[in-house]
């Protein structure tokens, strides 16, 4: 079981959390303007890197607030959790080996 640091409640076991997939995927500003292809990208396509991944979790059995985590999908190590926008080091590790 992962140990996850909720920014509000501290380190808690994974069983208290629910996963939310890739972080920082904004809802399209003007959905009506999207092509079918662009809408498909928004609906169905997410990054799936083998390496560093910025992802959402919600502390569903605790404070019930959403936050983001940076986790390595090979080792499952969580290097940090944070609220709001991504830290400066950008989410540019897609496909990293």
């Amino acid at each position: 079981m992962l140990m996850i640091e909720c920014p509000h409640c501290g380190v808690r076991p994974e069983g208290e959390f629910t996963y939310g997939g890739q972080a920082h995927v904004p809802y399209p500003e003007d959905p009506q303007a999207l092509t079918d292809e662009e809408w498909a990208q928004y609906l169905f396509y997410r990054d799936n890197p083998k390496g560093t991944f910025r992802e959402r979790w919600v502390h569903s059995a605790g404070c019930r607030k959403w936050f983001n985590a940076i986790r390595d999908t090979r080792t499952y190590d969580i290097t940090s959790t944070y609220l709001g926008a991504a830290p400066a080091e950008a989410n540019s590790t897609q496909g990293a080996q």
Partner: protein, 412 residues
């Protein structure tokens, strides 16, 4: 119904080192298949056998059939809801029924049936609907009562005094299990005999392109020219398509399974339960083989979290009280490639000459013969077989999704 009881100990097949050649890669092939698991090996076999294309290499990053092919729970069935699914899974089941003769190799295919349990009123309704859909598609299926469940599988607990009592089940008598390693070895041996080069410890690190067309693969064992490239890499498909410059709508998750130590034959069928997330059969040697749901997070680590196993075991022990005396021998994880409609992706890609077979998620083993058969056709003809035409990448744009969350059984 046939059971493993009385089948006795059967002879082991020849040692796998001697079942196929282990050639060095040549510098050019008509078709390069990336991924030496069940799907890749079956695809290579049907390319050679059905389409006469034998200048083929299968590149495997690790050892042959050492990924999900070595990690699944070997359940074979075709009782899916939608027409598109019934077509390809039933084709696969029919191929399974002739596979030992086809390959000239014992794979311990045992049609011991599968029960998919219903624990809620909604489960019952969905199950009856699926049974009726199965029958319309020529898939053997019936909806049975808890008492009939008990007749098929005497060790199951049908007491009403448990958290999720058994309220009924769908039953597909032609479903079953097979010995996964031997399936891979059987395909590998015949493919190798037909001229296919099976190349292990050979990781793909890039693709050579000529405009929009793929013309070769770069590997840890050198560059290889390729007329066509077929991806059959399951949970690692995203890492390959990123190298080729396009994306697939899959997420890779750990999926865990486990076995007990060897026991006398006590479990004559296969039991699956969506609602409480466990599926169990008993292997020919006697291990109880159980699978869980996927871990919720994306992962490539071939291991998952312990609480998932704990959840699965609590369900198993309630359904099968006798299991409380069994000991856990081993647990492991594989990396499954999950799509949002719980259906696979198979067909052409945005890259000319490149084909993809992925997204089988938690249920790829049963599809090995059918997927290999259809994927070989797709590669040979540069267009999908009727069986996999609905499974194109385009369906995510057109919206023609094939929602199999109900019948895909494991938590997707």
């Amino acid at each position: 119904m046939t059971t493993a009881q009385g089948s006795g100990q059967r002879a082991l097949p020849p040692h796998p080192s001697f079942l196929w050649r282990n050639p060095d890669p040549r510098n050019s092939y008509d078709v390069v298949i990336v991924g030496g698991g069940g799907h890749g090996l079956a695809t290579a076999y049907y390319l050679a056998k059905v389409h006469g294309i034998t200048n083929v290499a299968v590149l495997e990053r690790g050892w042959l059939a050492g990924g999900n092919m070595a990690r699944n729970t070997t359940i074979i069935r075709s009782n899916y809801l939608w027409d598109e699914s019934a077509a390809i899974y039933e084709k696969s089941l029919k191929l399974w029924e002739g596979l030992e003769d086809e390959l000239g190799y014992d794979i311990f295919f045992s049609q011991r049936g599968v029960l998919n349990l219903a624990h809620t009123l909604q489960d019952q309704r969905d199950s009856v609907r699926r049974v009726e859909a199965n029958r319309l598609n020529g898939v053997d299926a019936e909806y049975i009562s808890p008492e009939q469940v008990k007749e098929v599988c005497p060790i199951i607990n049908i007491s009403q005094d448990i958290r999720y009592p058994v309220m009924g089940a769908t039953y597909q008598p032609r479903a079953g299990i097979a010995k996964h390693d031997w399936v891979a070895w059987g395909y590998a041996r015949r493919a190798s005999e037909l001229g296919v080069d099976l190349i292990q410890n050979c990781e793909v690190t890039g693709f050579d392109m000529d405009g929009d067309r793929v013309v070769g693969v770069r590997t840890t064992r050198g560059n290889i020219k390729a007329g066509r490239v077929a991806l059959a890499a399951a949970g690692h498909t995203s890492t390959l398509t990123e190298l080729a410059g396009f994306r697939v709508p899959i997420q890779s998750h750990p999926l865990q399974a486990l076995v007990s130590e060897l026991h006398e034959m006590i479990h004559p069928t296969v039991v699956m339960s969506n609602h409480v997330h466990v599926y169990v059969s008993q292997a020919h040697k006697g291990e109880l083989v159980m699978g869980a749901g996927v871990d919720s997070y994306n992962g490539y680590g071939q291991r998952g979290s312990f609480h998932v196993i704990e959840h699965q075991m609590s369900a198993a022990v309630e359904l099968f009280p006798a299991f409380s005396r069994a000991h856990l021998l081993r647990t492991w994880g594989g990396i499954v490639d999950v799509t949002l409609d719980a259906s696979p992706i198979m067909g052409l890609t945005p890259v000319d000459g490149m084909y993809v077979d992925c997204g089988w998620g938690t249920g790829g083993f049963k599809a090995v013969p059918g997927a290999g058969f259809a994927f070989a056709h797709t590669i040979a003809n540069n267009e999908p077989h009727e069986l996999n035409r609905p499974y194109s990448l385009e369906r995510f744009v057109t919206g023609e999704l094939i929602d199999e969350h109900g019948a895909a059984a494991v938590a997707h």
